[in-house]
């Protein structure tokens, strides 16, 4: 057994170093071999992956007790548990062969950028999933936040302003108003669920319809009359479009500001879930509600808190979407909640409540975005994309449930 363990470590370390070496060789050899236009940034990716594995090998040496063990049983378990991840890896390889342009740093950065707003939403929705609930109003809240923030942040010279006489206010003010508007509806969600013990599915469905109606009314106010909002102020658009370290070396497209924003929010949510009383309460309510009540947890307050915090995150996502696209309509965010729920489920959040980690959600969102982006990349028909997306969700939930039963 012990020998097995050390073998795995060695496998990781040696394998990682080999990939790393291959990457470095290719990096210097690609131009003389004339491969630059065939493998693009593959060497860089190999170096990163190699480093990752090698480090993992070193790290697991330090704490050998929770290491992988290699046996046929654990191997097949590993396969089923990571079926979606493996399917994604296969898909990535296929896409790279079909369209080598996929192996570019800028593609990877673009995928991370697209994942950022989705991740923020998924982190919000995971709270509602953790208490065995759901939140169908999330997508419409994104729309609400984007319309409200964009409507107050147009340039003075734009021909079709939402509020023709509004002065150029500080950027943060409309953003706060937009997020606050979402939190009001989040509070309504929480109130319906906590006070009347309504199933979150129905409560948030009702609120979803209310939000869309209210947002459409706002959007339809004269003089706008349902015209798409444009003419966004550059200082606001920067919030979603700014690129850090652009041109640090030739051709580097820069890191979108959305990525660090998402990272910061991840850290905050991780802290809330793992290091605060509120976070422990969320898991407790999700794991066993009756026990939580007996233990003296104020369920009403915590459920209110969950839905308000979640709506705050959707609001942030909505504001960022408006900034990123420099525009907004009442249709923004339509159907996002389902993508976010699916990403959470793929990331190991149990729909039965009480189980789910921030790391898993990050993985889930990344897997989903990579698959979606990749299919778009090789121009797969949108109908097929839908089919594939559905299959992924079904398989992920099936795996989740088998895991649950095994325990």
């Amino acid at each position: 057994m012990a020998e097995n363990v050390s073998k795995t470590k060695k496998l990781f370390t040696v394998g990682g170093l080999i990939v790393l070496a291959l990457g470095i060789i290719l990096y210097f050899a690609k131009t003389p071999l004339g491969l630059a236009r065939k493998i693009y940034d593959l060497p860089v990716f190999l170096i990163i992956i190699g480093l990752g594995f090698a480090l993992k090998g070193f790290m697991s040496k330090a704490k050998s007790d929770n290491d992988l063990e290699l046996s046929s049983k654990s191997f097949s378990e590993f396969l089923t548990n990571n079926a979606i991840l493996l399917a994604m890896l296969v898909l990535v390889v296929v896409i790279c062969i079909l369209q080598p342009r996929f192996m570019q740093i800028r593609v990877a950065l673009d995928i991370l950028t697209q994942s950022s707003t989705k991740l923020i939403m998924a982190l919000g929705i995971c709270f509602t999933l953790l208490i065995a609930g759901t939140d169908l109003s999330a997508g419409r809240m994104v729309g609400l936040a984007s319309v409200v923030s964009a409507s107050m942040l147009q340039t003075a010279t734009y021909a079709n302003r939402f509020f023709p006489d509004l002065p150029q206010v500080q950027v943060w003010l409309p953003i706060l108003i937009a997020i606050a508007a979402c939190m009001v509806f989040g509070a309504l969600n929480g109130f319906l669920v906590a006070k009347y013990d309504m199933h979150p599915f129905i409560a948030t469905l009702a609120v979803q319809v209310i939000i869309y109606g209210a947002c459409s009314l706002y959007f339809d106010m004269p003089p706008n009359n349902s015209q798409p909002i444009g003419g966004i102020r550059p200082d606001f658009a920067q919030l979603g479009q700014m690129r850090l370290f652009a041109g640090i070396y030739k051709g580097f497209p820069g890191i979108s500001i959305l990525i660090p924003i998402a990272v910061v929010i991840c850290v905050i949510i991780w802290f809330v879930l793992n290091k605060t009383v509120f976070g422990k309460n969320v898991y407790a309510i999700g794991g066993n509600r009756e026990a939580a009540v007996v233990a003296g947890i104020n369920v009403f307050r915590n459920i209110m808190g969950i839905f308000i915090l979640a709506s705050c995150l959707y609001g942030i996502a909505g504001v960022l979407e408006a900034a990123r696209t420099a525009g907004a309509t009442n249709n923004y965010g339509n159907g996002y909640e389902l993508d976010a729920i699916a990403a959470c489920v793929v990331g190991g959040v149990s729909l039965n409540g009480g189980i789910g980690k921030v790391g898993g959600i990050i993985m889930g969102v990344l897997i989903f975005t990579i698959i979606q982006y990749g299919l778009q990349f090789i121009n797969v028909s949108p109908m097929w994309q839908q089919v594939i997306k559905g299959v992924i969700i079904a398989v992920a939930v099936a795996i989740d449930l088998t895991k649950y039963r095994r325990k």
């Binding site: 003419g231 525009g327 121009n379």
Partner: protein, 330 residues
């Protein structure tokens, strides 16, 4: 006795006077007031009616055919001389035509076209509108004209136009017609269209941006020669994605012509900044003017051929879409 005679004389005189001064009364039923396009349409109609000295009354159908039918009855009872109808449901126009025919009131349909057999059932039924396929044709022509004026736009010098197509909602009539006819127009202008990629972006800026981002990376911006979008919002989304890749930011060497349809305010702004090539406008102003002039001539039993718009098949006035580039109507 004399007094009574005098009073009745004055009364009769007053009656004839009002009857003579009675201007033409147009009853116009709009499917829904809260619609940006119909708002422009309405304003054009009221302005033109004022110019012609006709009285126009507008009603808001609130997107409900039953409500609109009641409003039509009210207009007829009120004694309007002519009706302008923007039906809620264009396939439910037959009862409206029958009603008007029963009272011998001419009726001009606008914006939503009743089936030909409906219009043909009454000689005083007309239609004023635009041909949906034309919006596609003109968008394609904008691209073709750009390529004729700027030969270097053909980046690989193969005489073909390699384009990306962003489509609206699946199955939507405008999406089908615009996609088909914009490509056809490129062909008719003497270029071979080559579709590099196409996707459904549901008229949505955000979706169009994400899709275009992936396409730009997959195909390489240097290989894309044109972007055709079924509406302006998707065109603007594509432009955001191109700007993300340092295209369409003002440098002539890093520019891909993008066209849309609608001529909304954001598109006009993007054209002024030189980020967008052009768009196509559904000409509400001319449709409104034509509808009121036709109605006025019909009510006055005047010459409907003298209103300044060509009438085809004695039934239709087709108002062409307008190409818009750099924020100006062409």
């Amino acid at each position: 006795m004399r007094k009574i005679f005098l009073i009745s004389l004055i009364f009769i005189l007053a009656l004839t006077f009002t009857a003579q001064a009675d201007e033409i009364k147009i009853g116009a039923c709009i499917y829904r007031f809260n619609d940006a396009f119909m708002l422009r349409f309405r304003n054009a109609m009221t302005d033109e009616a004022a110019k012609l000295g006709a009285k126009i009354e507008l009603s808001d159908g609130r997107d409900d055919q039953n409500v609109q039918n009641e409003q039509i009855d009210a207009f007829i009872n009120d004694g309007v001389n002519v009706l302008i109808i923007n039906p809620v449901d264009r396939m439910a126009s037959q009862p409206i035509i029958d009603k008007a025919k029963g009272k011998n009131i001419p009726v001009v349909f606008i914006n939503r076209e009743p089936a030909p057999e409906m219009l043909n059932s009454y000689e005083k039924a007309f239609y004023v509108g635009a041909k949906a396929e034309e919006s596609g044709t003109e968008a394609g022509e904008l691209i073709a004209e750009y390529f004729k004026k700027n030969p270097e736009a053909d980046k690989n010098h193969d005489g073909k136009i390699q384009f990306v197509l962003l489509k609206g909602q699946n199955g939507h009539q405008d999406m089908i017609l615009r996609s088909k006819y914009s490509v056809e127009a490129i062909k008719n202008a003497g270029f071979e269209p080559v579709e590099l990629a196409s996707a459904i972006a549901n008229w949505d800026k955000l979706q169009a941006m994400q899709i275009m981002n992936a396409f730009t990376m997959a195909i390489g911006p240097e290989n894309i020669e044109a972007v055709i979008a079924n509406n302006d919002e998707m065109a603007l989304g594509a432009i955001e994605a191109l700007k993300n890749n340092d295209y369409n930011k003002g440098d002539k060497n890093f520019y891909i012509p993008v066209v849309g349809v609608d001529a909304n305010a954001s598109a006009l702004e993007a054209m002024d900044k030189g980020e967008m090539l052009g768009t196509v406008l559904n000409d509400a102003d001319n449709q409104g003017i034509a509808a009121v002039r036709l109605a006025n001539a019909l009510a006055a039993n005047g010459d409907i051929k003298a209103i300044g718009y060509e009438i085809t098949e004695n039934k239709y006035i087709w108002i062409p879409y307008q190409k818009v580039t750099r924020g100006e109507k062409k």
